[in-house]
Symmetry: C2
Subunit: 496 residues, 2 copies
């Protein structure tokens, strides 16, 4: 550990921390996920093992300088999860063998010719293969699955071709190199598959469970925040924190695409290692991830309602506080139940979409229907109703209609806040904005003329949409359950 | 090119294509972005140059076997953009120098001791450094900026320490190795900075411009699709295509976070290469990217309205077709104007947020106000209004209220569609779902009891929200313009 601090000291100036706080930081990283420390230990042991090839006399006599290749292999191939290690090892193995064969073919042609022709021939082979392999890396499928293999291919091909130019015996060279690479790979495989392995599949499973929990927290926080009383001054900071915490859950889900896909890709290389699966259903997890992202989009939009410049006044909102909060809590409860059942590899209850949620939706329905006037916009609107319809049909001379609608019911606090924050900005930037200001405020006012209840309608509609999407999530969870062969649901589980 | 086909033939079985179609595919990748072919050519030339170190007799005499390190450097360091190459080269350089110094220190201690102690000392140094460096790679900041450097450090340290165990003269070895790595780096720098360079900054600039265009297309497609007439049978396919095309624009923006950040990271390493910037404002581009993602979330939510199971009936929607379409087109026009001005490195017009948009918003305002009855939910609602309010206050016995609200005005087609598609699924899966079905339809019906206009209210509210967020986008574009020193707007530009 002391050594870790030592070597990391190089970076401490970059991060502007004292060695002590850096040490605490290092410790916190390990405590967050102890598998990291274990992996680092494994890497240290693997490197020590491979360096024995040099250090121990009898081993060195057999292998010699080529032991270097085993060291390189261990440094480059040993990855955090077993699947990633296997995938890299195969890429490295394939790349090396292909490069070796190609280099051998070229050598066969070159060796029979004169020195000048040989030099020319080797140089042009290097150029062509270099061009082709680099170009190949732009192909999306190759880039996704075999990028590392192509780099290794290119590297090995060049090293063999070019170094064989000055050596006569290529075959023993290639054989020794391959055997040492095999030793390196064997050490990596041993460390990553047999000593406290980290499975990509398990990681993906845990990530999926965390997503459910995160989404549930986001929904509850978002709805609580929407119906919170107008803040007093001392609560502003607290409110900002609450708002920030909403994002964490759904953002993590929205950003999970690439990490899910790479985990699933690695997981598909892993041998069976769990009692739960016949074969690991990585694609089902990816599918569930995509449905969850779809679900998270609704939460993002709900959050957008919170951040919006146009707000339904708090007294109108508060009428709907209870039913909305109830729907949100029921949805969160369902998500948490799904999390528990996926975590413990058992099927979820058949009635997970409970009557409570149904009732909560009905309760939201009733007060919305009971408040028709809120959706009228202004009190004048009803009077101008028929005239407006005519104008809509003519659809041209709208200027007159605008003049007869002078009722501004606006929640202007947010606009005022925004303007006041701008005054402390540097003069150069403010200059920039004065050109924009007239237009900006004009648009803002226009928006705020809209029916007061419109923003709340959006909020309620998104809540309902969320329930509908929740069904899709449940459907996908059931698909996963049957593919992953989860154990049957029993009512005993529910009580626990 | 023939060779490219040859070597890529290894993968053709994986992709299940004929060589001819594979050739066409390769050609299309190059045509899509000719810089790819140019980069591949540059890589081929760089590799050929570096292999001359071996092939030409006088050069080989000077450098010898160490030329291998120059080859390795070129293969690993040469990247598509100049910034990425510089960043990797610095990482490699730093990693090598640090590893060399540390190995030298250890050697100083080890060389004075007996053989057994020396072996033990070297092995434990390898273990400790291996542990520390691997652990360091889990630190988020290190992982983001210096991951490659740490790998190189570990590789070089192990190779030097371990190989110096059998060699007496470490210093000349290190010196030769460093000088050949320097040759490799010099070739990479020459190829990537001086021969038809690809700048990360330029890539980031182009990506930003493309985002504006993509978003504009998404908005127009989304609104057009929302107000499209109910499809005839032969239009279903076309409609699906149109729906798919909506996603492309905003998805690309939503998924752009990591690529933006890495491009900006590389761009920050690049020297000044353009007349437009004093220093490249990479962070402004990242900020603009994040504001655009915020904007794209609204489009995602709009798209959600389209996909939603609960729909406002088409005859209600069609009342608002013209104003909504007009707002969408005006927003798209502003985005396209921003794209043009950013593309041509000039400031956008001060009146980019035009009166047209203002008028379009007013026109959307008027018909919404003119249709108060649509927001009433059911015709019974007004009658039950006062009673409902009482019930809301007591907030308990809602069962009675539900019984008195039998008016189902629902757009059930989507529900029917969904059910019919399910029947062609395999029996095993259907079995799974029968358990879910009763709950599912119960919820769906509940949702559809809501006021018909609620989903449209959400749609309209999101459109307005989009205009508000457009202002934030414009503000951020103006920030970028002043930071990147774009040339002033002149009315002449507008005419062109």
């Amino acid at each position: 550990m002391a050594c870790a601090l030592n070597s990391s000291g190089k970076y401490s100036s970059l991060l502007r921390t004292t060695p002590a706080s850096w040490g605490r930081y290092a410790w916190s990283i390990g405590r967050e996920d102890p598998r990291r420390a274990i992996h680092a230990l494994k890497a240290g042991i693997a490197l020590t093992l491979v360096s024995l090839l040099y250090i121990l006399e009898p081993l060195f006599k057999g292998i010699g300088e080529n032991a270097m290749w085993a060291v390189t292999t261990v440094v480059v191939v040993l990855e955090f999860t077993a699947g990633a290690t296997i995938c890299k090892r195969l890429n490295r193995g394939l790349g090396t063998i292909m490069a070796g064969s190609l280099a051998f073919l070229i050598e066969l042609v070159a060796v029979k010719s004169g020195k000048v022709f040989r030099a020319f021939f080797v140089a042009s082979a290097v150029f062509l293969i270099g061009f082709a392999a680099t170009y190949l890396r732009f192909f999306p499928k190759i880039k996704k699955n075999y990028d590392y293999g192509v780099v290794i291919f290119l590297l090995t091909f060049n090293l063999i071709t070019v170094s064989s130019f000055r050596q006569e015996e290529v075959v023993p060279l290639a054989r020794d190199r391959l055997s040492t690479i095999a030793i390196g790979c064997a050490i990596c495989m041993f460390m990553s598959l047999l000593v406290l392995p980290n499975w990509s599949g398990q990681n993906l499973h845990n990530c999926t469970v965390r997503k459910f929990d995160g989404l549930a927290k986001s929904i509850v926080a978002c709805v609580d925040e929407y119906f919170r009383e107008q803040e007093k001054d001392d609560e502003v900071l607290e409110r900002q924190e609450a708002r920030a915490s909403i994002q964490i859950g759904y953002r993590a889900v929205l950003d999970s695409k690439s990490s899910d896909e790479s985990l699933a890709h690695y997981a598909s290389w892993e041998p069976r290692h769990s009692m739960h699966y016949y074969s690991y259903p990585s694609q089902k997890y990816v599918k569930l991830g995509s449905v969850l992202r779809h679900f998270a989009c609704t939460i993002a939009a709900l959050h957008g309602c919170l951040e919006s410049e146009i707000q339904t006044p708090p007294h109108v909102r508060s009428l709907f506080r209870d039913p909305c909060t109830r729907v949100a809590r029921e949805v969160a409860k369902v998500l948490q139940e799904l999390a528990v059942s996926v975590r413990s590899h058992r099927r979820c209850a058949p009635d997970v979409l409970s009557d409570h949620l149904h009732e909560a939706l009905q309760d939201l329905n009733s007060p919305i229907r009971s408040q028709p006037r809120l959706f009228l916009g202004s009190k004048h609107a009803r009077a101008t109703n028929s005239r407006m319809l005519m104008e809509l049909n003519s659809a041209k001379n709208t200027a007159a209609s605008r003049a007869t609608l002078p009722s501004f019911k606006t929640d202007t606090t947010s606009l005022v806040e925004r303007k006041s924050t701008k005054t402390d900005q540097p003069a150069a930037e403010r200059n920039e904005r004065t050109m924009l200001r007239p237009t900006l405020s004009k648009i803002a006012v226009t928006s705020l003329e809209f029916s007061e209840a419109l923003p709340f309608a959006a909020f309620a509609s998104l809540l309902v949409e969320m329930v509908v999407r929740l069904e899709l999530v449940i459907e996908e969870v059931k698909n996963l359950e049957s593919a992953a062969n989860f154990r049957e649901y029993s009512s005993h589980d529910h009580l626990v």
